[in-house]
Symmetry: D2
Subunit: 381 residues, 4 copies
């Protein structure tokens, strides 16, 4: 049942999407931005309130560091949401200029590892079952450091973190083509992440960030391949025209998002534990509304992918009918699924138009007025 699948889908939003963000040129400040993790959760709860499918919120450590994580989890619960993945951050400290877990300096590596293990403690405290590992580690110039030695150091750190994981916990290893490292990144592609995870075992999986690939990369192929290998742990959804632009999911290439969801469904990603997470920045658009729109975009792509007539498709593929097989897929894509999603929302007691309902709610005006003073949350806060 298409409706059942859509109702069951969980789309996790990231705490950092509610704070200010920007490019290296400028972080534009917006009104009403949260000043602490509790306010971020409150904003995330709005996204869930209007869409009904965003009950999980990812944390970023140390940005979301609090004294009492159980209290934070309780606060979330009171808002109708729960803590999702714990995202480690070993890139915003002067010590990490030349790398964190792959740094040539053993002291820096030890510090970074310590942080990763702390994140598992936070998982224990919050009940989160997923640790997301992204390393900005890499080098800017040929020769700056030894590529192979850095892999050895990376493997060592991953071993330690893997060994610390408890029952029912896993980590997702993220890869990224470039930025902030410009010559060589230590986990630049899915193959590198896959090789490390394969060696470690079932608690290590790959996370696909849709903005982290070279131009021309077929992301849905990677998705299909990792699912076949049992190594797809989840997604960091966002969209991009050029590099890691971190625009709203589905905004730059909605057809690509549809093709990804088509492979997820075909590969059994809905029955396995594939996490659908957003990871994006709202540099110029309002934060909460931007998240609602992104969630809806993922839903629409999913709905279209669920509509594909798999039986007709298989028949056309088996017959070598190039145009026929493609047409089956395009028929689903060209369908306007917004009425279907509106219906599902109405049936669930939600407003059929989350964007309009949120706008009418006055929540933005309220926080814009209330949240003055204090340090507004941004990258690093």
């Amino acid at each position: 049942m298409i409706k059942d699948s859509l109702r069951a889908q969980v789309i996790e939003t990231p705490s950092w999407a509610y704070g200010n963000s920007g490019t290296r040129f400028k972080v534009f400040a917006q009104r009403g931005v949260p000043r602490d993790p509790f306010e971020k959760l409150a904003d995330a709860a709005q996204v869930h309130a209007f869409t009904g499918v965003a009950p999980q919120v990812a944390l970023h450590i140390p940005w979301d560091r609090v004294d009492d994580y159980a209290a934070l989890a309780g606060h979330a619960s009171g808002l109708g949401v729960r803590i999702g993945a714990i995202n480690s951050n070993v890139f915003q400290d002067d010590d990490y200029m030349l790398g964190s877990v792959t740094n040539p300096d053993a002291k820096v590596r030890a510090k970074a590892l310590e942080h990763l293990l702390d994140c598992v403690d936070i998982m224990d405290a919050t009940g989160s079952d997923t640790l997301k590992l992204w390393f900005s580690d890499g080098i800017n110039y040929p020769g700056q450091d030894d590529l192979r030695a850095r892999q050895d150091r990376l493997a060592e750190a991953l071993d330690r973190v893997y060994g610390r994981l408890g029952e029912g916990q896993r980590f997702l290893l993220e890869y990224k083509l470039f930025e902030p490292a410009f010559y060589a990144t230590d986990v630049p592609d899915w193959g590198t992440a896959y090789a490390h995870c394969l060696r470690l075992g079932p608690k290590a999986q790959v996370v696909v960030d849709t903005g982290h690939h070279a131009p021309g990369t077929n992301i849905e192929f990677i998705v299909a391949f990792l699912l076949r290998e049992g190594k797809l742990g989840g997604f960091d959804f966002n969209s991009r025209f050029y590099a890691d632009d971190d625009l709203m999911a589905g905004a730059a290439d909605p057809f690509q998002l549809f093709r990804i969801m088509f492979e997820v469904i075909g590969g059994g990603g809905f029955t396995e534990d594939v996490a659908f997470m957003l990871d994006q920045c709202h540099n110029i658009e309002p934060k909460i509304a931007g998240q609602i729109r992104s969630v809806m975009n993922v839903q629409e792509a999913t709905a279209k992918a669920l509509l594909v007539d798999r039986e007709a498709l298989a028949a056309a593929q088996a017959a070598g009918d190039v145009l026929g097989a493609n047409a089956v897929v395009m028929d689903a894509y060209n369908t306007d699924v917004r009425p279907l999603l509106a219906e599902i929302r109405t049936e669930a007691g939600l407003d059929p138009d989350p964007m309009a309902a949120y706008a009418r709610s006055g929540y933005f005006e309220k926080i814009a007025e209330e949240r003055v003073g204090g340090t507004q949350a941004g990258w690093g806060a």
Copy 2:
């Protein structure tokens, strides 16, 4: 005479390369970073002192705003350097979130234009003859603003600035594929910059930043084409593996830098007023040493390009001798020109090895010790 050309080459360094810089993920702080425009000039003077070819320093307004520009110019003069291009900055103010001169809001446009005209005043005050215009303007989402209306607004602002230029002054219009705008940038390619400059007249020229192109773009073709049209105003040199990485010139693709200089020389760029400027960020490497190395890289590429046997090349080209013509160019590229440059330095009373001489000078240790307290200069400071 190859030596004469190398001795005559002027490579301009940018004041902002001496301050802290970084990516959106982190700006790593370095020791000894200047705290005001005067200290930046002092650092730039070191680069000139050891290389002998970097007597000009570009300013960035408002980062280098001072009360008395004549005093600043005098200070430069006392250090043996002079003020180069004035770089306008209309991207680091909350008002510019949706654009500066192309903003849909006329008040914001007026403010941006005001700033540009101020920059011409600073040219008058400092004796600079070149205004560099880079606009981060663009949009992140399809439909966000009207692409054509933004061109109209851009044209209007350029008209005003052009009209304000005095005798012997010019502006260079910079283009950039993307970042910080992610869907459409208002001056995304050389064609757009060229079309605007052509309409305006001889005081408007295009500046080529070597990091601002799509993958696969043949930059030296653009150089040759603009020279043929009399519209190449200068370069912002830096290097990149992926996007606008802003690494040291010549570090990522020294062969490309050589090919660019080869076209510059062939197209008469040495006799016309083509400015050789560096525009790069030293995120992880020491600032002054990084500039010295960059200057030397440009010199080496220039020396190799000057070595090309143009007569033999023309003969091979006329004969349709593909391998022969390519070999003439590669022979020059494969030559080790470091001894030649060392000789030129020695003849000029400089140390033949600028990097070693600078390291021995103790300048870095001195500023690292002295420059504590105050706000260290970074992007925006």
Copy 3:
């Protein structure tokens, strides 16, 4: 009226799409492929018969060389179609190995020019008003030939062709990033084509082939810019994931095609003489069906672009409402326009489903049976 615009749209198909084509690795032969220009026109007429919007057929010279062009035009007329653009071909002759109009050898240049002028004769004979100029000219190795000298030679040839154009005739200059030249192409981007056309005058315009750009290039920006300058002559539609893949228009990135049509409409491209031409290869899919599908894809993108609520959009843009403005555009894109197009077809006496109707017609079975023997048309035939 949206329906009127859709009814008035003319989508030109290329004669070469009906013959065999392939990659450098293999040209796969298909059944029923035409053996001469007359059979190609017959196939093109099928596309028009089922879609009602493809009455023009582009020719490629010398592939479509016949003794009597008036007879060919008459044959087209009898089939309900007419001759569209004349496409010159100066790349399939051993003499052109090092270039055609930019060849260092004056004799080769003269031969190429002769061919171009012949094409204008064919325009006269067939009543075609458009000459399409694509030059594969370029070099594979740095130094192989002089980039600037090649521009001089190109300009000379274009001058001659321009001077030969009669009343009501124009040429469209095509640009392409790379292939078959791999180091430098003589007309690699829109800026180069634009500069040459600008110098020549109103009968010279730029044609945008949607597969001829570097990764990350914003094609609709180019469209908007050229329309603003009065220099957009038309499109060669096709789609691509990587390079110049020449897949069916709208197949790889339907959102991009929509954005292009959105700019065409906004820029007045429907009232000016912008040609909508297909230029693609059906390497593995059936030729005629592939063209029908492509025509429909262009129609669907056009219909969606026409649906954009321009008034609401302008209001949101003026208000700086990023999400609101984007939503207006996305609302149109997310609409299923197939019912609207089916209605228009039915009103015009056509089958609402061209693909199904063509399949039922038995035309393919007929030509597959009849067209045996003779040389099947392919690239170069």
Copy 4:
């Protein structure tokens, strides 16, 4: 000893580089092109005669099919060369339009597998120890076939071929981003090739073709990673500015080739069995001279990489000295190694300048005169 390493290096040339080749637009015919595998070997022997490091010649089946492979191997031996890798070809037959080993049609898959097993027979007959597997398999349109099912079929074929390999034999699996498949290629990246090879065992390794990556891919990282995993089987060297341009190795980006060789040496690639093979097309340059030049380019990159002061480099890396470490690498790259290589050649009794010596030899004039009539070898011949 650097000289010993350079003397020991073996660079294999491909039989198909001696025949005509081209792009989809045109194959330009050259004079003196071989008409059968025996003549190809004769040409390859010339490359070895003048460089002294190219004693192996790769075959392509069926292009180099002969009745008696032992006789062919004997012919090679008489010319002073030997048979290198056997390259399978399952892309030039109409049956493979929708794939070979991944085709939805089991009959086509069986045919393709048969061919691969034949190639192992040819290895047995010629004494070749390496089978190179490149599959052009993939799809052009989303939905055209099932991505995961195609992996299953691929795995099945690889299993069969792996099982057929004898003692001392291996296969190298090649990956390629795109072309001739344009939407999804079945082995698009090193990760896919690696995963299949890992499952199979030590006789399966990955081959890196330097032209088969997305823009911005760091190839030397892949090299270092595969060496660390013991899965780098060899290289197909060529160079490219854009896509799979197949230009002469080292011509487009000599610095990249140097960086690759730097990782090969650091990763122990010289002591393990890493094959240095050329795989390129000479579309416009003379074939034999083009191969000689390519071999020399690989030698020069190797010599520079061997010159890197590994001790100084390790010290700078350990100290976090970004500029110092990079300088060690650049010092080697900037060295002119041509005198060193000339010396080695002279010591070996060869002419120090292979290009000039070959030109003087009159071999080209001889074959141009003799090889008239017959079918000249080209792709598919």
